[in-house]
Symmetry: C2
Subunit: 405 residues, 2 copies
């Protein structure tokens, strides 16, 4: 069902960053469900984490440990280790300690990540049993296998890669992500891992991560349900033969920032394209806002409206539902007579009512497309925001009604 999402593009290896995949049989025997990533010594690591107050045990641990030297990222699917209290925290610590022991590093150098069903005890022994195989599998050429290994209800693996030249040296940025439901990232996505071989100090890397995530992962929504397990990590191995990148690095900093942003955007949008039951990829663009928050309020009111999402599924240009959502978004003193709404390039509503030039045929032609842009001009100021989302289909209900069966 994925919309405009093909096979993985070429994912360039990142020198100093290796990935290993193994099967712990957490949900189904034989399924690849454990991914270990190794960062070369001296790597910088930055992360953004869910703002959900019920954040999962691995999130709590990773948030603490990301500030120290990080050598390994340990991901399991099939179990989120969320809503598991003190026992869950101990379980996450145990899997990290085991990996640290096998790898000969301090336990604090291992960051855990989990995704899957909430509230079940983490099967620690199963995961521990798969760690050696994952370590044996470590290779810089395993990005595609890792992208598959972190999938849950995803139908396709998600990844993106960019390279640029600086002073004759090639710099690589490669990333993968997973997620298809419980998606409204809040400072991060479900799970994302992006690595570069540039040398970047932790503070600068953190800014790059925040900037990259803010306009990509933090602007996608499938069902408005912010996950307990959202994490996105950015790793800089420093293996490229270039000076350390800082905000004062000029062209190198700008090129790296752009590459990180493009990888973030591509893997974030891939999550929406593969949204549970998605048949449409929808861009909601809000312009002319008095401030960014009111643009976001309007955008999310539209992007979360079950009535708009079912109309999108039906390819029905029921634009009245868009007006209704804009009107209930809570923007203070909203003057509807200044508002224009476009479906693609078709003006469907102007001055608060149906556009005089609009015909149902024009709306239907836009709605029949797989990729649709809804543009709302508020006429209040100069601010804009863009959000990406999906429709709401029978398949979404089916997937989520049957998720645990």
């Amino acid at each position: 069902m994925a919309v405009g999402l093909g096979p993985l593009p070429t994912l360039h290896p990142v020198p100093g960053f290796e990935l290993g995949i193994a099967s712990a049989g957490i949900k189904r025997p034989g399924r690849k469900d454990v991914v270990v990533m190794r960062c070369a010594e001296g790597s910088s690591v930055a992360g953004v984490f869910t703002l959900n107050a019920f954040c999962a045990a691995p999130v709590i641990l990773s948030k603490q440990r990301v500030h120290g030297p990080v050598r390994y990222l340990l991901t399991n699917t099939g179990n989120a280790n969320a809503g598991t209290g003190a026992l869950g925290l101990a379980a996450a610590e145990r899997t990290c300690a085991k990996l640290a022991e096998l790898a000969g590093v301090p336990a604090e150098a291992v960051l855990p990540f989990s995704t899957g069903v909430i509230g079940e005890p983490l099967p620690v022994e199963k995961i521990e049993g798969a760690l050696q195989a994952a370590l044996d599998d470590l290779s810089e050429n395993n990005w595609a296998e890792a992208a598959t290994g972190i999938m849950t209800t995803d139908t396709l693996p998600k990844g993106a890669s960019r390279q640029f030249q600086h002073d004759g040296v090639t710099v690589t940025v490669t990333g993968i992500s997973k997620g298809a439901g419980m998606i409204r990232p809040n400072m991060a996505t479900m799970l994302g891992y992006i690595a570069t071989d540039a040398k970047v100090a932790p503070a600068v890397l953190k800014d790059l991560m925040l900037d990259g995530a803010n306009k990509s992962f933090n602007r996608i929504t499938i069902d408005g349900d912010t996950s307990t397990n959202d994490c996105c990590m950015l790793i800089a191995t420093g293996q490229a033969d270039l000076p350390e990148v800082t905000q004062a690095s000029g062209a190198l900093f700008e090129a790296l920032k752009q590459a990180v942003f493009e990888v973030c955007m591509e893997v974030a949008q891939a999550i929406v394209r593969d949204g549970e039951g998605a048949t449409k990829f929808v861009t909601v663009q809000v312009n002319g806002g008095g401030n960014h928050q009111e643009c976001l309020d309007v955008g999310y009111a539209v992007a979360h409206s079950p009535l708009i999402k079912t109309a999108l599924f039906a390819s029905d240009p029921n634009w009245g539902r868009i007006l209704a959502a804009v009107g209930r978004a809570g923007v203070p003193q909203l003057d509807v007579s200044l508002i224009d709404v476009y479906l693609g390039d078709v003006c469907i509503a102007s001055q608060g009512g149906r556009s005089p030039s609009y015909t149902e045929e024009q709306g239907s032609a836009v709605m029949a497309q797989e990729e649709i842009t809804i543009r709302i001009e508020l006429g209040r100021g100069q601010c804009s925001e863009t959000i990406w989302t999906t429709d709401l289909s029978h398949e979404y209900v089916k997937i989520n009604a049957e998720y645990r069966t």
Copy 2:
């Protein structure tokens, strides 16, 4: 599909309040789609109206006219006359003027109400053509017919009635409502009409309406989509042989307030029971909040979560989704270790994790019921709020994908 909603109860006539039904053939020939209500001269009228900024033309007009003497309420289904701009306002004025002319009252004494598809021009001639038949049909005994006449995607008519005695005089409060989708009333419901034969001054009636609506209509949600056309009206004809009711009337005031509240609650909950595609009637109770707003934020996060709603549809006690919704509700400094969550009487989560005593069998037994209470104890203070909602089923998607076909 309606949950726990049977045939209409006995709807006692309200002396001084008559209802007439006719067919204008707005959406389908022969369908009863025009309802006229006449209030006896001297009646007081109070109303609450949608806070959607894109409110419909009839809402704009009724909000203005409710402050003057009101004699007629004119309702049509099949067309919401919303998102129709200046032309829509003129159309609403024309239908009112025609009714006023036929009835021999000033145009300002007629309040219009519309419900149905948004953004289509109101078929003024069709409605005008049905007005004389509706006037000819006026009777105090037509509550049930009117409850049917105002239906759109409703599967059953909705009404409630209460009587009480005061000083040997019987006082009646009877009400009807409609609505099944685009339901998250904000100061009102889709459409509700409640009448009493008590004598009540407009200012007191307004307070009764606000109090009644606030804990009933304003606490139900089906899909979070606040309508452009929500209105709820309370009419007091003053025909009961009793003194005028004021806040100082003691027992009479309290009895009337209670009766109005009970009628509001019964017809508001009836809207949820008949929610589009509903297979469950769900009560979300949030206790122990530090203030009412945080209780509402948590309650609506749960009530609007597509993941919780699909789990309810599947009768799956996937309580991790409830924790995740509570955690993302935006309550500042939420201490998850103080939170308990109950499904019915079963404690599913305590201290932020799965309750040690919880078994999946217990959760499944509650989930198998048609009426389910989710209770969240925040452990932060003394405030409570309750919200009523439905599940999200295949049928909801089907109804809303095919709404205009």
